[in-house]
């Protein structure tokens, strides 16, 4: 590790991508991620790679498709409305089993929304976004350092599983400056694997396609994809636990709101509330088992998101309704203040205590009956 540098999330992500061996970047201007495109325009030629400011988001994701089919580590980035436009290409990339990294520095929606931070694209990222039964690995960094580390990781995951990997950050993470240590420059060759299109010198011609007209064949391809997704789900779940061992109140949050929640959990501990935090790092695959396990230990779960309730649905599914799940969210570009999270936690804790007492006294009444 080198010495620390102060960098914005957007620029740090771009530099990390280059150090991870990304040699093709295609992007289109959109706030709040323009620093990525500008950084790549300057830095990619220095690194001997390809930078194109594409005519549209559609062109950008399809340039990624072509570059990836030719064997190069390739990336595009955008923000919410632009990511919507890329969904067609992402579906094709998933179907054709090509590696690709797509960063979404989320802004307020729906529609043109605004340029303030948001987490309203969670559904789009983890549930598919484009058409057809496909998955993409979704990573949710919460600090600029973690954004750097996960960017490097995203290229390895994309190559290992030959599938799209989404870095899901919010506008806050893209714009804020933090000290980061960068990994060393990795030398990654243009791939010559058995699926890469490079001209058929000394081998049979190859084909990369997503059209499979025969229903039986397409069914088999879908089963093959599902098998791969199960493998990813079994091996790649990542999360961080803070004070969850004895926690009665579990807070679930990802990205920058998780930082506010971490501080709120510490403050609640001082007040005598046994609170803990689960921070999913992979949003797909989701840390389902861990949340399920905690659902049998805790008395209440609180989900905090910069949306009107998206990840909370995955938490509900994981908790299987064995424990009450409350939600605290806001969208449109408003962020959380630690005091309001603490108040919400205290209220949630109070509610669950009253409920527990009622349940206890009910039990005792039953017991006291002759």
């Amino acid at each position: 590790m080198t010495e620390k540098r102060l960098m914005s999330g957007n620029e740090a992500m771009a530099e990390a991508a280059i150090r991870a061996g990304c040699r093709c970047y295609f992007g289109y201007p959109i706030t709040p991620q323009n620093e990525v495109t500008a950084y790549m325009a300057r830095r990619m030629p220095e690194a001997g790679g390809v930078f194109i400011q594409s005519e549209s988001e559609l062109a950008a994701i399809n340039m990624v498709l072509g570059a990836s089919a030719a064997g190069c580590r390739s990336m595009t980035s955008s923000s919410s409305p632009g990511i919507s436009l890329k969904q067609e290409g992402i579906s094709y990339i998933a179907a054709m089993e090509l590696p690709a990294v797509i960063a979404n520095i989320m802004r307020g929606g729906p529609g043109l929304g605004n340029i303030a931070p948001s987490q309203s694209d969670y559904f789009q990222a983890v549930k598919g976004g484009g058409h057809g039964d496909y998955r993409q690995i979704v990573l949710g960094p919460s600090t600029v350092q973690e954004l750097v580390d996960l960017t490097v990781c995203s290229f390895d995951l994309a190559d290992e599983y030959r599938m799209p990997v989404v870095i899901l950050g919010d506008g806050l993470l893209g714009q804020m400056m933090e000290p980061v240590s960068m990994p060393g420059m990795r030398h990654v060759e243009i791939k010559e694997e058995e699926w890469v299109l490079s001209g058929c010198r000394g081998r049979a011609p190859r084909l990369l396609r997503s059209l499979i007209l025969d229903p039986g064949d397409l069914a088999a391809h879908n089963l093959h994809l599902q098998e791969k997704y199960r493998r990813v789900a079994a091996r790649e779940v990542r999360f961080e636990s803070v004070f969850t061992d004895d926690a009665e109140l579990i807070v679930v949050a990802y990205g920058t709101p998780a930082r506010v929640c971490r501080a709120a959990v510490a403050a609640c501990r001082e007040k005598g509330i046994r609170a803990g935090l689960i921070r999913p790092i992979t949003l797909w695959p989701f840390p389902r088992e861990e949340i399920s396990r905690l659902a049998s230990q805790a008395s209440h779960i609180l989900v905090v998101e910069m949306s009107h309730g998206q990840m909370v649905e995955d938490v509900l599914l994981s908790a299987e309704f064995r424990v009450p799940v409350s939600f605290f969210g806001k969208a449109g570009g408003l962020t959380f203040h630690i005091d309001e999270v603490i108040r919400k936690m205290e209220k949630t804790n109070q509610k669950s205590k009253i409920k527990n007492q009622k349940a206890k006294s009910k039990k005792q009444k039953h017991k006291s009956k002759p």
Partner: protein
């Protein structure tokens, strides 16, 4: 005995799914012959469009990549930039290139991408059932212009080669009609030149083939050839439209 005609190595020995009288078979054959003649089979990658020619990968005996509808030039761009020594051919129909993919083709042309576009213009969407394309002639009846194309409603047929010729990045643009042997030989010369331009790293090249769709024109193959000569050629003049390295 001297062999004077045989299947090119670049074409697989299989039957195509194309309808009787369709131009795709001829264009495939010409392209395969040129690829053989230039000795570039082992470094050629064709990007297949969405449309009738999507199944081109069943027929070409070299690498093929599919692309989403109209995005063929963007996929070709990504591929060519990674491997500049490969020969990248964007094979597109008129709906793919001139409607949904107009932005991609214009910008690839304007950037002067070192790719070659094979543009097959039959004036309608063949695969989906003969709907109006940007190249449908005025008055032509299609599934979506049952009374004939009216320019006040649907605009004029778009002349792609003339449009793209405005860009400096376009080194060569030519149009030919797939009608008789004479014109087919002319078209082959054009396409050979277009690919030579890519091999010399000079810029963007495109050859447009006016091609019959007897099925959706509701004509016999013979009548369809006549239709190209009498109706299409007056609207889309054949010949070299731009050549900066004459």
């Amino acid at each position: 005995m001297e062999i004077i005609y045989e299947r090119p190595e670049s074409l697989k020995d299989v039957r195509t799914h194309y309808c009787a009288g369709c131009g795709h078979g001829v264009v495939h054959r010409i392209l395969a012959e040129i690829v053989d003649e230039l000795g570039i089979r082992e470094k050629t990658v064709v990007i297949a469009p969405v449309g009738c020619a999507v199944l081109a990968y069943d027929y070409f005996n070299f690498d093929v990549c599919e692309a989403p509808h109209g995005r063929t030039p963007a996929v070709a761009t990504g591929m060519k930039r990674v491997r500049p020594s490969n020969v990248i051919i964007s094979y597109q129909g008129d709906g793919d290139l001139a409607a949904i993919g107009m932005a991609e083709i214009i910008h690839a042309a304007n950037r002067g991408e070192r790719i070659t576009v094979v543009f097959v213009n039959n004036g309608l969407y063949g695969m989906t059932g003969g709907q109006m394309a940007p190249t449908t002639l005025i008055g032509q009846r299609t599934a979506t212009t049952p009374m004939g194309r009216d320019f006040r409603e649907c605009g004029q047929p778009i002349k792609v080669c003339e449009l793209l010729s405005q860009f400096e990045g376009v080194v060569y643009a030519a149009r030919c009609a797939i009608t008789g042997p004479g014109n087919i030989i002319k078209g082959k010369k054009m396409l050979k030149k277009a690919l030579s331009i890519q091999l010399a790293d000079l810029g963007f090249s495109i050859v447009e083939f006016l091609s019959a769709c007897p099925t959706h024109w509701k004509l016999t193959p013979r009548e369809a050839v006549q239709y190209i000569e009498e109706k299409m050629v007056p609207c889309f003049p054949t010949g070299v439209i731009k050549d900066t390295i004459k």
